[in-house]
Amino acid sequence: MSGVDLSVELAGLRLKNPVMPASGCFAFGREMSRWYDLSRLGAIVVKATTLEPRSGNPVPRVAETPAGMLNAIGLQNPGVDRVIAEELPHLRQYGVPVIVNVAGSTVEEYVEVARRLSDSPDLEALELNISCPNVKCGGMHFGTDPRTAAEVVGAVKRVSRYPVFVKLSPNVTDIVALARAVADAGADGLSMINTLLGMRIDVERRRPVLATEAGGLSGPAIKPIAVRMIYEVSRAVSLPIIGMGGIVSGEDAVEFLMAGASAVAVGTANFVKPTACVDVLEELAAWCRDRGVRAVRELVGAAGRMGP
């Protein structure tokens, strides 16, 4: 894009630009391919995949909140075997690295999903979702205790042929401790942040709006929390970070890069505008161009360069 070098490297993956969809906000790409050419993306991140198919939670599953939304989808997905057989192959045509988001209820389940994915040629990396607030058993509890997190990451790393990004939960007292634990356990990169646990009450019906009561808060409302956590973690841990949480514009992407992310993912914004990912990409490129920034890489961590 006219002179600005947008490429980034991320745990050995070479991306032609740093913008990708956030898991769960893009399904497996088929629907989105009607709105723009997916080969323009830096990478593709697909919906959480579990060992067995899951039907997810009852409805209502989504609710709007000020500058944000709650979701409690509950990992609805067709299971890893069908994802490998039916979803990943068609994504190859875009020539873009594919990252598969992995979820599970037990360490063994994470490991088995990772093992099966390792036998597929149709992806470049795993994103371990140890932070999904939407399923009672599995998901977030792996991501809130450093020891448990390290255990699942270590176990997956032993079987995975692909680099492993670990998706961190913001619902913790000390995100740096979590990041350190998964780094020590062998993670190749971090994705942050997943959603914050929230709730809305329907005051007329006198009960929570979501069928599951609580759900995950995403969107611009959480952006300051995401930026703060990425800023902290990027200074404490030397893993590449895929930053996300409320990005809706190119300037938001710049903010995440400057906070210390090496790439960014766009989630909720896809619901505001189906072309959000490529819009963010174009705005990011224009931002760099207007300010004479030659390579987007130069922005990574720029806000923390002065030392603590």
Binding site: E64, A67, F271, P274
Partner: protein, 254 residues
Amino acid sequence: MRFRIVDQREIARNVFRLRMEADRPVGWSPGQFFHIRVDDGLEHLLRRPLSLCEAEDDRRFSVVYRLVGPGTRRLARKGPGDELDVLGPLGRGFPLHEGDHRALLIGGGVGVPPLVQLARELRKRGVSVLSLIGFRTAEDVMLAEELAECGSVWILTEDGTAGRRGRVTAALEEALEEPPDRFYACGPAPMLRAVQSALAGRLPGYLSLEERMGCGIGVCMGCVHLCRDPEGRTRYRRVCTEGPVFPAEEVVFS
């Protein structure tokens, strides 16, 4: 896509008809919906789904909606000339069947609007239309004249202040006396369930469902409804892209 508002008027108590014009022609069918951003800012992130009520041509449409919360309240503040960020029309609308002669349309409350363009399309094909439309009270009655241009209309109100007293299901048997080939229903879930169970095995038809939507384009899995496939297996299907209109026999109400 940008639509320009042509006009907006209150047509029943707290119910607005908004006419809008797309900047270029778009394909549509009755029963589809528009996914509308109520404001360009970030406070209200999610779009609001509103059914296509009337299509004057390939660019001019109307939607009819009730004020229920902050999103529709904000929409109601807009006026002629204002621009709207709109996706759609999206989803799968009402299928029309060759060879049908009589159709029964059943609508409750803000389930009535999508029936208007449907009635017109049926009418154009020579299908004779009977519309059963139910409301809470006389002040809520809407779109009866538009439907009357396409066939017979029976109005029901729960309190009897307009038309007959009762719910649409109370008039169902009578509506079947001259047997229709098919029914099309849209309205609140309890109404749809009652219609489904009253007509199951007797008359084929379609239900148009409502669920809270995230994306409206099939990627978030927010808007699912339980459906039974022909083999009898139930699974969640997306109202936004696989619906909002489903064959009545496939829909499972829990």
